[in-house]
Amino acid sequence: MDTSPPEPRLSALYQELILDHYRRPRNKGALEGATHSVSLNNPLCGDEIDLQLRVADDVIRDVRFIGRGCSISQASASMMTQLLKDRTVSQALTLAARMSAMMQGDETAAKDKTLGDLRALAGVSKFPVRIKCALLPWNALTDAMKP
């Protein structure tokens, strides 16, 4: 049996912080009084997210999600909800654009502190088929914020 340590790329992908969000997702469950909600799934691999937001005066007052799927999609959702509370809609959409840039391998985005815990997902950019997992909750967000 091969007992060599996992490759650096893999260790970068599956960081502690990602597994922590996967196993102890923040803001998971239904949101009372949601003003916006979007369900998205990835038909290819079956990741699912149901994102619910309460928006008032153009500010995201609260956000929760229900979902199931791989560690990347679920950790991304959990980290995203942490960041979104009390942001304006336009700030949230800017974050979505930064997240997308980080997935495209943009190194400045990967160092952008505004992305918080999400920077742990920078390694996903090296795994093209998994980028859609990381972006699923963000796509739900941009869908939900469409006027």
Partner: protein
Amino acid sequence: MLDAARLRADFPLLERRENGRRLVYLDNAATTQKPEAVLRAIADYYRTTNANVHRGAYSLAIRATEAYEAARAKIAGFVNAWAPEGVVFTRGTTESINLVAGSYGRAHVGRGDTVVVTAMDHHSNVVPWQILCQEHGATLRMVEITEDGRVDLSDFGTALERRPKLVAFPYVSNALGTVNPAAQLAKLAHAAGAVVVVDGAQSTPHLKVDVQALDCDFYALSGHKMLGPMGSGALVAKPELLDAMPPYHGGGEMISRVFDDHSTYNKIPHKFEAGTPNVEAAVGLAAAIDYLETIGLERIAEHERALAQAAIEQLTQIEGVTVYGPRGHRAGVVSFTYGDIHPHDIATILDQDGVCIRAGHHCAQPLMRRLNVAATARASFYLYNEPADVTALTGSLVKAGALFGYVPA
């Protein structure tokens, strides 16, 4: 067991390294690699024989037609079809089933009728029947499965009490490897007055199939899952049924005479082969059948059974791994989960070691719901897999366990 290491040398793609590692290809239920003999047959066809079939009056076109019809006869022999004209070339199992739904189904299933499928069917043997039933006001009845992943015969019997017009089921489950008692199911369905459609996508490559012994009415198969080219496949049917069926696609080749306002149709199987067919696929599939017959389907089945058995034994020794499907008689398909590690994460981690498995719902969402999982990881074997491939699978899985904290790193 087969001398898989020697057979492997017949497959150019398997010489490749993936992510710096020896390629361990364990996604054979999705598609198989192609031996040199098949690649050569396709190239030779274009180098020496290519012309449009059933049209030209010149020698080249006659040779192309002969090669195409010889491939049909080869498939007919391979599954013991009722007659070569009962073999319709299609793009694969999905198109074959859609042909039955769109032609036989459209003509015979009406308001208030029932079509029966099983909860272990692939989407390709569910969705065409859903569409048909929705359009014709018929009911689709899905037969339940047992806890260990077999067709629930008692529920199958209950479903037959509705006297369905048509009963469809897979010979072998793509997600679980279950080998269904196809002849018994066909007999029961016939006794209830139904026509029987067998999805043979996962059986034809791996077992000796005899459609006359099964006594089904329609049998669908895919060439790419049995060493043949993508886009090759066939519908094998009782000729008298095909003969009475309305056409599926309209166009050239399928007609006899075309008047301004109507047409008369060609004889079977040509009635169902509108347009220029994929001759390269037919010729490649015939070469694949030659390759398989040289080895022997019984020996292939035994080889895969041994690999699956070894995989199940090794996987179940890893704490936290659950293997799905029947413990006894099964094909070379092993579906599993590992604790809370999502199958896509498993697949990504295994890929770094050059191990290709499938992760997902395997186009069997009704089945996944009944197993109460969103997805599984699936390893599926073929004649070129070796015991070392099983060891590579389990070794890599232990790494996944380490990354997710199941075993010490």
